[in-house]
């Protein structure tokens, strides 16, 4: 991917996430949020391989995926602010919004639950015969959920066009994943399902993109599902108010040397990066202003849309 484009995409997600705690402090957002600071290269790289006919299902740490998939920023801010947004009109909030027009099946706040649903989307796509691939992201902790195991076997048995990206940020919520699995990697589980799996540097946009593209091409050609384990690190808490006492001293500072924005900044030079930063900040400020002008949903509508 063009490094300036990659930098801009990562910076946009980072800036978006960085604005949210401020908006919460200002009383504009209520409820907890799961931010993806540090993990942006995964959605940016993966979404480069996703086509309009495809579908995407993500987790509660999904803002970055939504932005990378092209969901408008004012809609996203408004949704998270509980406003009558163009997405779910505030019904989804930070952790459970969707956008049909972007093939965005939604975030999901139940760990691992998106994989069976994504398998169903891939099943539908196979009957549609239009070559649509379904992409699903999960955290590494979700690999210990029974539903994920069921869905992976299901997808493999039926050779469904499903590409699963594991965002391995090393922490299964607040607990090191290394203490919760008995293998060195998660990718090595893939062959047990009959699913090709690779482990990549999830802080490298290009490495993520090429691995996801390879799996997508195979899935589109009828080669069945694929798994990409993308290694990354969270620069922030599991949720926005997480004090992170469980993280060793110096770990986050060390991670800041490896994170995607710093890397891409070094690639394109700080002068160009600063120009992009200014443009990104202007875009985000405008989006926030636009979102803040969106009214709250009318309480009269609370009963609507329950049934057909």
């Amino acid at each position: 991917m063009n490094p300036e484009h990659a930098y801009k995409s990562v910076a946009l997600i980072r800036g978006f996430e960085e604005h949210l705690p401020d908006l919460k402090a200002a009383g504009k957002i209520q409820g907890s949020m799961h931010l993806c600071n540090g993990q942006e290269a995964i959605p940016v790289g993966a979404c480069a391989a996703i086509e309009n006919r495809d579908a995407l299902m993500v987790t509660y740490r999904g803002h970055g995926w939504a932005i990378a998939r092209g969901i408008p920023l004012p809609d996203l801010f408004a949704e998270i602010m509980g406003r009558d947004s163009g997405l779910c009109g505030g019904r989804g909030g930070s952790a459970f919004f969707s956008s049909a027009e972007h093939g965005f099946l939604g975030e999901n706040s139940i760990v691992g639950a998106g994989v069976p649903i994504a398998a169903g989307s891939a099943l539908a796509a196979r009957f549609d015969g239009r070559g649509s691939v379904t992409f699903v992201s999960i955290g590494e902790g979700a690999m210990n959920q029974g539903s994920v195991h069921e869905a992976l076997n299901f997808a493999a048995v039926f050779q469904l066009p499903l590409v699963m990206v594991i965002e391995n940020n090393l922490y299964s919520e607040l607990t090191p994943i290394a203490s919760m699995i008995a293998t060195a990697t998660l990718a090595e589980r893939g062959p047990a399902y009959g699913i090709p799996a690779v482990r990549v540097d999830g802080n490298d946009v290009d490495e993520v993109e090429s691995a996801v593209r390879e799996a997508a091409v195979r899935a589109r050609d009828g080669g069945g599902p694929g798994i990409i384990e993308a290694m990354t690190e969270r620069l922030v808490g599991h949720y926005d108010l997480d004090p992170q006492h469980y993280r060793p001293q110096g770990e986050i500072e060390s991670a800041r040397q490896r994170e995607p924005l710093v890397r891409l900044r070094a690639t394109i030079g700080s002068e160009r990066a600063s120009e992009i930063d200014r443009a990104v900040e202007a875009t985000l400020s405008n989006a926030i202003a636009e979102a803040d002008a969106v009214p709250f949903p009318s309480s009269d509508t609370a009963r609507e849309h329950l049934y057909a």
Binding site: A55, M57, C88, G89, R91, G92, F96, F97, S98, S99, A100, E101, L105, G106, N108, I110, A113, V115, P116, I117, A118, A119, G120, S121, A122, L123, A124, A125, F127, D128, T134, G146, S147, E150, A151, N153, F154, V157, F158, E304, H305, L306, Y307, A308
Partner: protein, 333 residues
């Protein structure tokens, strides 16, 4: 212009054949319909519900791994992408390993997305106790589903309803749970296979009476009928209703009957505490309070687990005699 001639075609089916016929109708009517579950395609289903469907409809009917979460989740995802999946969960008890996909997922799709995504899926299963079945193949868990806004729930008790209610469920653009009972599978009836598809909902009056309203569903329909016949010999006429759907619930039919009889008894096979009878009692206590001449009676299983041994089973699950006794008690008020 001449009026359209409605052709009725009545044929005799067992309950399980009626299910098969409804599935055949659905797979014919809706090219987007899929039917899948454990042992449903090549084996034709453990009770034969899907006999012949794989042959007729090919890959749209398929066997799955024993993976209820994957099955229900795949139905949610396929429904969100324009398919109309029908899933078989072999025993109602097996929902419990996969309720997330029904409650946290399917029931939220339309509401949270404001209808931009929909979830037109049907899950058919069978539940309730038969003597000898173990505690994990015997429960009546309908109150779990009835508690969930966004899910429709029907419990067909006759071959006719097995056909009609399954068609209603599949035609609905909402997630619908249909709980059959294997005790009914060999019951026979004449069914009009060309009638119009009904909307979900609507209780059926099985017997008109003026002394006592009895509301029941699923496996207790037969027992309540038997009890009503016995009560009639004792001069007590029961206004008996098969509620059929718990969501949407036809509370109007219940209230109208209570207005005539002044007495209400709810009979379900599920144990009493937290059973759906409590909800009906609460609604009738509020909306029909001034019509009631006696406290509302609930008959259900004992609040214990379901034992396999037939005499123990019979001691736990309401029998016709239990219903008769409760009715006589209610009429002494």
């Amino acid at each position: 212009m001449p009026e359209a001639i409605i052709q009725t075609e009545k044929r005799t089916f067992t309950y399980i054949q009626a299910v098969n016929e409804a599935l055949r109708w659905a797979l014919t009517e809706y090219p987007e319909a899929l039917f899948f579950g454990e042992d449903v395609a090549l084996p034709g289903g453990p009770y034969g519900a899907s006999k012949g469907l794989r042959k007729q409809f090919g890959e749209r009917v398929f066997d799955t791994p024993i993976s209820e979460s994957a099955m229900l989740g795949a139905a949610v995802g396929a429904a969100m992408r324009g398919r109309r999946p029908i899933v078989e969960i072999m025993f109602g008890d097996f929902f419990l390993v996969a309720l997330d996909q029904l409650i946290n997922q399917a029931a939220n799709v339309r509401y949270v997305s404001r209808g931009r995504f929909t979830c037109p899926m049907t899950v058919r299963s069978q539940h309730a106790a038969l003597p000898g079945a173990c505690a994990q193949h015997s429960q009546s868990l309908e109150a779990f589903f009835a508690h969930v806004p966004g899910l429709r729930l029907g419990l067909p008790a006759t071959p006719e309803d097995a056909f009609e209610m399954l068609r209603s469920a599949i035609a609905s653009d909402d997630p619908v749970v249909i709980l059959e009972s294997r005790a009914f599978y060999q019951d026979r009836a004449e069914i009009d296979v060309n009638g119009p598809v009904q909307q979900p909902g609507g209780a059926r009056c099985l017997r008109a009476g003026t002394d006592l309203t009895v509301v029941t569903w699923s496996q207790m329909v037969g027992r309540a009928m038997e009890a009503a016949e016995e009560l009639a010999t004792r001069g007590i006429e029961v206004d008996l209703f098969d509620l059929r759907w718990l969501n949407p619930m036809d509370i109007e039919a219940v209230l109208a009957s209570v207005a005539r009889t002044g007495r209400l008894m709810i009979v379900h096979e599920a144990n009493i505490t937290g059973g759906f009878g409590g909800e009906i009692a609460a609604q009738v206590s509020k909306e029909g309070f001034w019509h009631l001449d006696a406290p509302i009676e609930r008959v259900g299983a004992l609040d214990v687990r379901v034992p396999a041994s037939p005499p123990l089973n019979a001691a736990v699950i309401p029998q016709a005699a239990t219903i008769v006794e409760a009715a006589e008690r209610l009429l002494t008020h």
